[in-house]
Amino acid sequence: MIPQDLKYTKSHEYVRLSGDEATIGITDFAAEQLGDVVFVELPEVGRVLKKGESFGVIESVKAVSDLYSPIGGTVVAINESLNDEPSAINEDGYGDGWIIKLQAASEADLADALTPEQYQALIGA
C-alpha cells in the first residue's frame, strides 16, 4: 500500500510536507524495482535545489539512477545513516530510509505532483 499522506512524482520520489519542511525519499515501488540499494550519493547541506533538479544518485547492484527533487528548497538535512545502511531504503523507504529534508519548500511547487491515487494508477498496483 502506498501512503495516503504523501505526494509523488512520475520518477518515483515521494515528498512529505510538514509546514515548510519537505522530506524526500523514493517509493517502495521504486526500491523494489531497483533491488538491493548499495550506495546513495547525497547532496551537501545548504545546497539550494530547484524543483525537478537532480540532487543525488542511488545505486543498486545492477543500476545507477538519478534522484530528482519534487519541490524547491534548501537542503537542511541529509540522511547520513544511508552511508552505512543504504538498505534502509529497501526496508523502510517512507521512514528510516528518507533521503533529504528541504526547508522553505513551497507548496505551490506540488501543484502538479501526483496524488496517491494517481501514483497508484501510474505503477499499476
Binding site: D36, V57, E59, K62
Partner: protein, 369 residues
C-alpha cells in the same frame, strides 16, 4: 520503468513458468526473458558462496561438432589445446579471428564420438555463422540450442546434493570433467564447470525434463539451503571470480592476451589469429585487463574512464559492488605501463575521480576443500 510490449518478442526457456511462479523479476537478456533475481541479488549471491544455488541457463547455446575432421577443425578455430583434450574433459577457450579478436568464448566438452560447444546466448547466431563459414566438408555441425535446457548447480553443497540426485560417477566428476548419466532419472550430460567461482555442475538436458530437474533440486536441496539464483547474482559471482563476460571483458577487437587470458592460449596448432596472439603472449600487449578494487564506496561502472594522474589510461569493462568483499570492484582495460599490481589509479565517476587499486582480475578464490 517496465516495457510490457517487449516481453512478447522475447524467447522463453522451458523454466519460464517456474520462474514466474517463484515471483522472479524477469528482464530481457540476449533476446530472452530471464530471471534477474528471486529474493534479492545479494542474498542469492551469498547462498551460492555459502550453500548452493540453482540457475536456469537454458538461454545458452549448445553446438555439437562431429566427423573425421572435428578435432582438426576446432584446433583451427580456438587457441586452446583442443587436440590434446581427453575424452571426458572440458576446455575453456575462445573462437578467434585472424586479427586475434574474439568472436565468443566457449566451453568445449569432449565425448567419445563428438564435441559439445557451449556458447553465449547473445552470440548463438554469430557463432553459428562463423563456424559454418570455416567448417570443412568432413565435419558435421549441429545446433541443439533450441531443444536443450541447461541448469547450473553451484556452491559448496553442490556435490552432496548431486550425490543424492545422480547416478554413480556424476558427483565424483573431476573439475572440468564431463559425463553422461541420469539426474532424477533423466538422461543428461553433466560437466563439473560453472560461472560462479564455486564448485558445481552444469547439466544439459532436453527441454521437456527441465522442470523435473528444477523442482527436484529445489526439493532435495532444501536441507542444504538451496536458493534459485538469477542473472544478477550470476554477474556479481562471476566478476568476483575473475570470469570474463563477452561484450565486457571480451570482444571482437580485443585478443585473449589483452583480456588477461594468456593462460588459456596453449595450442601449438595453426589457429586463426595465432601470429598476433602468440606474439603478444611472448612479448606482452599494449593494453591489459586488470582488476580494480575501489578505495571508497563509489561504484565504477562499464564505460567509466580510468586515469593515472592526468592521463587517461583505460576504461572500465564491468563493475559492481562485491557482496563477498564488501567493496566495489571492477575490471578495466588499461595501458600496460599503468597495469602493475598495487598501482593506484583513479576512476572518473560523475565528474569526480576516486582511487582504485590495481589487482588481479580474480578477486575471490574459494578455499580448497
Amino acid at each position: 520503468m517496465s516495457n510490457p510490449t517487449a516481453a512478447e518478442t522475447l524467447k522463453q526457456t522451458p523454466l519460464h513458468g517456474a520462474h514466474v511462479a517463484l515471483g522472479a523479476r524477469m528482464v530481457p537478456f540476449g533476446g530472452w526473458d530471464m530471471p534477474v533475481q528471486y529474493s534479492g541479488i545479494i542474498e542469492e549471491h551469498h547462498a551460492v558462496r555459502k550453500a548452493v544455488g540453482l540457475f536456469d541457463v537454458s538461454h545458452m547455446g549448445e553446438f555439437y561438432v562431429s566427423g573425421e575432421g572435428a578435432a582438426a577443425f576446432l584446433a583451427r578455430m580456438v587457441p586452446g589445446d583442443v587436440l590434446n583434450l581427453p575424452v571426458g574433459k572440458c576446455l575453456y577457450t575462445q573462437f578467434t579471428r585472424p586479427t586475434g579478436g574474439v568472436v565468443d568464448d566457449t566451453i568445449i566438452c569432449r565425448f567419445a564420438d563428438r564435441f559439445l560447444l557451449v556458447v553465449n546466448a547473445s552470440n548463438i547466431d554469430k557463432d553459428w555463422a562463423w563456424l559454418s563459414e570455416h567448417k570443412p566438408f568432413d565435419v558435421t555441425l549441429e545446433n541443439e540450442s533450441p531443444e536443450t535446457a541447461m541448469i547450473a548447480l553451484q556452491g559448496p553443497h553442490a556435490e552432496a546434493l548431486m550425490r543424492e540426485a545422480a547416478t554413480p560417477g556424476i558427483a565424483e566428476l573431476p573439475f572440468f570433467g564431463v559425463a553422461l548419466g541420469k539426474v532424477f532419472g533423466v538422461d543428461v550430460a553433466v560437466s563439473r564447470t560453472g560461472y560462479t567461482g564455486e564448485d558445481g555442475f552444469e547439466i544439459y538436458l532436453p527441454n521437456a525434463y527441465a522442470e523435473r530437474l528444477w523442482h527436484g533440486f529445489l526439493a532435495a536441496g532444501e536441507s542444504y539451503g538451496i536458493r534459485p539464483a538469477g542473472l544478477g547474482a550470476r554477474d556479481t559471482l562471476r566478476l568476483e571470480a575473475g570470469l570474463p563476460l563477452y561484450g565486457h571483458e571480451l570482444n571482437d577487437e580485443t585478443t585473449p592476451v589483452e583480456s588477461s587470458l594468456a593462460w588459456t592460449v596453449k595450442s601449438e596448432a595453426d589457429y586463426l589469429g595465432k601470429d598476433v596472439i602468440a606474439r603478444q603472449k611472448a612479448e606482452g600487449a599494449s593494453k591489459k585487463l586488470v582488476g580494480l578494487t575501489m578505495q571508497g564506496k563509489q561504484i565504477a561502472r562499464e564505460g567509466y574512464l580510468v586515469f593515472s594522474g592526468d592521463r587517461q589510461v583505460g576504461t572500465v569493462a564491468s563493475g559492481a559492488p562485491s557482496p563477498t568483499l564488501g567493496a566495489p570492484i571492477a575490471t578495466a582495460f588499461v595501458a600496460a605501463d599503468a597495469a602493475g599490481l598495487g598501482t593506484t589509479l583513479e576512476v572518473e565517476i560523475r565528474g569526480k575521480r576516486f582511487g582504485a587499486t590495481v589487482g588481479r582480475t580474480a578477486f575471490y578464490r574459494r578455499a580448497k576443500a
